[in-house]
Symmetry: C2
């Protein structure tokens, strides 16, 4: 079990940061939330969670509008969109204690590589993959539909053992808060595994304006999802990451059993926010291509989404 | 030149049937239009063409609500959607003179094969590919933006010479009406050539809700169009139809120069009509697959469109 005197900072308190921060605070950790547009509301009213798994939870929280006002934290959980990583480094460093652990709770490939050069050398950098159906309902209000596990792996920093100890320490934090969590020996492998879900469902939710239940209820979209999953598995393999046998099938069956869900990219599209296309599509495609592996359906999906994203931002 | 005493019937007088029928009537042919929902309006007001090429044309026309009321025709031009071919055979035979020529002005593969078994043996069956930007503006009102050529080829029937003479006779009709027209020795080849345009632009207009100008103005959609065109060329080749060198590039450049255009599938989608997915996507994919050739982007596009089409008809 984890000592409860660990101080945790949450950078980007949307659905992901808000959910995990709130669960950790409820478990007794000293959690500090950096907020932007929701600062006033959350400072006054705290955070509310409506969870199909954990019930109704409401807590007053320690909220900040500026990173400089936060106490120095031992762990920093970054739940902001991967599209804003360039702006995050200064905020992370202001809130990071010496030797702190920075955990990127983001999807896709290349997010740590993008952030690392801008971070201090004493900081440990980790990546975390969240298997969860969660959405923001309104300012400070989070709706949790199902799942919740976090798989995390060490990326880079001063750890001597390849970071296994630090990753295990992080998994321990989540488990102490009642959340399934595994330390992964290979972060890239964990990221490819998550892509098997994100590539089809995030993209098709935007392209077909459809949530998981209709996508899983139509023979053609099912076949397209399975073909996209198979391409991601092939891309991972070309990049030296053999995913567990039957992994795509497992995610497909899991999604069939999930309550109807609109993936985060659909919400980004609806809110006219930039889509996370670089990390979820462009970087994996580039790595697979460099390894001699073409992923034609995924590339077509990426090109269609890039058109939609660009048009959305011009409008 | 063509004798003007040829009697021509138009089955399905939408944009395509209306345009060519009107041009042939204006050239002095005896043209008879079979109409459905637009019968009353067209009988009273005739047909109007607003053409960027030919100017404003308005003609009273011989309109019919029932095929049984039409005189027997030497040529029947079928401009109805390929999705309604099953219902067309009885209408065609009611209006067909002995030994008549039936020309399907439809896109895609397999449309003649679908209709042929339901036709009388004395009827010649031909296919025609229309390279034209034309739309219905309202009942009896046609807007012609650009192009206009018809390439046609013989499919089956009592012709002794493989149908070259009948196809040439058909091309002569169109040329007599001021329309570019070529008889093609190989109808399948002509149909594959047309697919090089239809597969990317029809599908993407529905999927991305975009007309040709924005599709040609974005680097990602351009790359996707070119990749889809290359797949159609590869599919044709696998099926024994080598398209002329540089043909895809030629259509791509032609589309760049065209005025902005919404392909017919977009209008079908907007009007909640069934999409012509069988002839334009499913049949070419099946033929390429049977020849050992995978077309992954085209298949992904087909699956996405099939999802959209099915949802649209359930709604």
């Amino acid at each position: 079990m984890q000592a409860r005197n660990v101080r945790i900072g949450i950078i980007g308190s949307g659905a992901i940061g808000g959910f995990y921060g709130l669960m950790l605070a409820r478990a007794g950790f000293d959690v500090h939330f950096l907020l932007r547009s929701e600062y006033e509301v959350v400072r006054e009213r705290g955070l509310s969670l409506d969870s199909a798994v954990h019930g109704q939870i409401h807590l007053p929280v320690q909220a900040y509008a500026r990173a400089a006002d936060m106490p120095l934290c031992d762990w920093l959980l970054v739940g902001a969109k991967a599209t804003s990583n360039a702006e995050l480094a200064p905020l992370i460093m202001q809130a990071a204690a010496p030797d702190a652990r920075v955990l990127l709770l983001q999807n896709g490939l290349g997010v740590e590589e993008q952030l690392r050069p801008a971070l201090r050398g004493d900081l440990h950098l980790l990546g975390g993959l969240c298997f969860i159906c969660v959405n923001r309902k309104g300012p400070g209000e989070i709706c949790h539909q199902s799942l919740g596990a976090v798989n995390l792996g060490y990326h880079s920093g001063p750890a001597q053992d390849g970071g296994a100890g630090v990753a295990e320490e992080g998994a321990g934090l989540f488990r102490a808060a009642g959340i399934d969590s595994q330390a992964m020996a290979d972060l890239d492998q964990a990221r490819w595994q998550k892509l098997v879900w994100n590539v089809p469902y995030n993209g098709l939710s935007v392209l077909l304006q459809a949530s998981t239940t209709p996508l899983m209820g139509d023979a053609d979209s099912r076949a397209l999802i399975q073909a996209l999953m198979a391409e991601v598995v092939a891309g991972a393999s070309a990049c030296g990451r053999e995913l567990p046998a039957g992994y795509a099938e497992h995610l497909f069956r899991m999604t069939e059993k999930m309550p109807d869900y609109w993936p985060s990219m659909y919400h980004d599209h609806l809110q006219q926010r930039p889509l996370e296309l670089q990390a979820i599509y462009a970087e994996p495609l580039a790595r697979a291509r460099a390894a001699g592996c073409a992923l034609p359906r995924m590339e077509a999906l990426y090109q269609a989404l890039a058109f939609i994203d660009r048009r959305g931002r011009q409008a």
